[in-house]
């Protein structure tokens, strides 16, 4: 399977360096660096979405219109309902203080109807319909809202961003593959004479391809590892120094699975480049007799 990698030294000399090294390792390094960062962002977003989703899955609010005069009674009803793990009241005044950050003094206007809230977490088996009915007997218009419904647009945005990140990874990989195709064709043109001589003497396409495949695989490996290492350094700096990122994502970080995926990416890029080079060279050779 890896015979192509172990071609002899004299055979390797057939593709001697042409003075300056081709830009392939640099192009692959840049691609690898970018792919790693984009992939890390996508994985972090996925992790954030997962953490957020888990956190709000069982979280509900009882909205109490009209300022919540009977808030203590309602809190008692919620806490006594079966399946409620915890409940916490947010008074109208607290709500107005929170809204003031965005609305300014207008948040204190009595013309702005601000409900009180009772946030609560439920365990499986909770009867939310019964709880809502009991609450409405105290405050008509009270209603239970699932947090996941409120946060659904945000989760959809996070999912969309993950798709974009994945798409970018695919696009960048395709761009890297295209760069490899160009590099392979350039190398074929550079060594056209040697290839013609080899063919004339009886070399098979596979023998010629093995030489190019090995050369491009090494270039791709060097580039991928260099780009991946640079990206890893950047990610370490971000992870170590920017605590606001953790705050922003509710403590979401890259898990072991994510790190394994990121570690494998440069190798996957090398494998892709090697396969693309092999295919491109074989295809190009078929155009000759």
């Amino acid at each position: 399977m890896f015979d192509w990698f172990f071609v002899s030294l004299p055979e390797r000399r057939l593709l001697a360096a042409t003075g300056r090294r081709a830009p392939t390792p640099w192009v692959i390094a840049i691609m690898s660096f970018t792919i790693m960062l984009v992939a890390a962002t996508g994985l972090a977003l996925a992790s954030t979405a997962s953490v957020l989703s888990r956190a709000i899955e069982a979280r509900y609010s009882l909205e109490v219109p009209g300022g919540g005069v009977n808030l203590d009674t309602l809190v008692a009803i919620v806490r006594s309902s079966p399946g409620v793990a915890s409940a916490e009241a947010v008074s109208e005044s607290e709500m107005r203080r929170t809204l003031k950050r965005w609305l300014g003094p207008a948040a204190q206007s009595q013309e702005l109807p601000v409900p009180a809230l009772i946030n609560f977490d439920v365990k499986p088996g909770a009867n939310l319909g019964s709880m809502e009915q009991r609450a409405r007997m105290i405050v008509p218009g009270a209603r239970i809202v699932a947090h996941r419904d409120s946060v659904a647009p945000l989760l959809r945005s996070l999912t969309f961003l993950q798709v974009i990140a994945f798409g970018l990874v695919v696009l960048l990989s395709a761009a890297a593959a295209a760069a490899v195709v160009l590099a392979a064709r350039g190398a074929l043109d550079t060594h056209r004479f040697t290839i013609d001589v080899m063919h004339g003497i009886g070399a098979t396409d596979l023998q010629v391809t093995n030489l190019f495949q090995r050369k491009i695989a090494i270039d791709a490996f060097i580039g991928s590892i260099a780009g991946g290492a640079a990206a890893a350094a950047v990610l370490l700096v971000l992870a170590g120094g920017a605590s606001f990122v953790r705050d922003l994502t509710g403590g979401a970080t890259l898990g072991l699975r994510d790190i394994v995926i990121l570690t494998l990416l440069p190798f996957a890029l090398t494998a892709l480049a090697t396969w693309v080079a092999r295919t491109a060279v074989l295809r190009a050779l078929r155009e000759a007799l």
């Binding site: 002899s8 057939l14 003497i201 009886g202 098979t204 023998q207 007799l289």
Partner: protein, 259 residues
Amino acid sequence: MRKGWQGTGQPCVEFDWAGGELVAAVAEFDSVGLRYGTGAEVLRDLDFRLRFGTFYFLTGPSGAGKTSLLKLLYLAQRPTRGRIRLFGEELSEAPREALPPYRRRIGVVFQDFRLIKHMSAFDNVALPLRIAGASDADVEGPVREMLAWVGLADRASARPPTLSGGEQQRVAIARAVINRPELLVADEPTGNVDAEMANRLMGLFTAMNRLGTTVVVATHDMGLIKSTPGAHQIRLENGTLVDPTGSLKNAHRPARPSA
């Protein structure tokens, strides 16, 4: 006509009965024509057979199509019409992946030498053996011996650009004959060497011919032809074949030139 077998166990040549004797053909051209692109035909209606173990000189004025004919012989070009059989196999329309094993049975001395410039003389000569899968240990001895034979033992590590024209030609010849081809094709092989070296190289060709190699040498040098007794002459004029010695149609057992 029936197929013959060489000692390697591979079908290699075609035999037929003619004139009461068994004659083997290493190459057969049947109504072969060749044109490049949409231009006029450079070779027309070539019908001949090269007999196994025979020495041929290919002559003709410049532009007659000698190099094109040689290209067809060493499978660097496909005919645009007609059929070519080499070593008993129809190869004019063979898939390209089928050609390398046949090319390995042909040694070629190119007019422009076609040496790989960044490789040493040793590596250039060793190339056919390495392509055929020989190990480094199997390559060392024969290549040193061949370089010594062409008088370049002390230039083994030299690269072609540092060699004179004659030295490059000798390296090219050494590369063509290193794996003892069954068919040796040479395009003006003595064009850049002095008379003494030319005689020596022709001696090598005739020695290989005595061992059974069919040799085809394109040349303008009539002295060379005269100094190779028993060799046949194929003459090309305006892309068509002239056969002054009748050697292509005459089906007697091939004569061997003397050393």
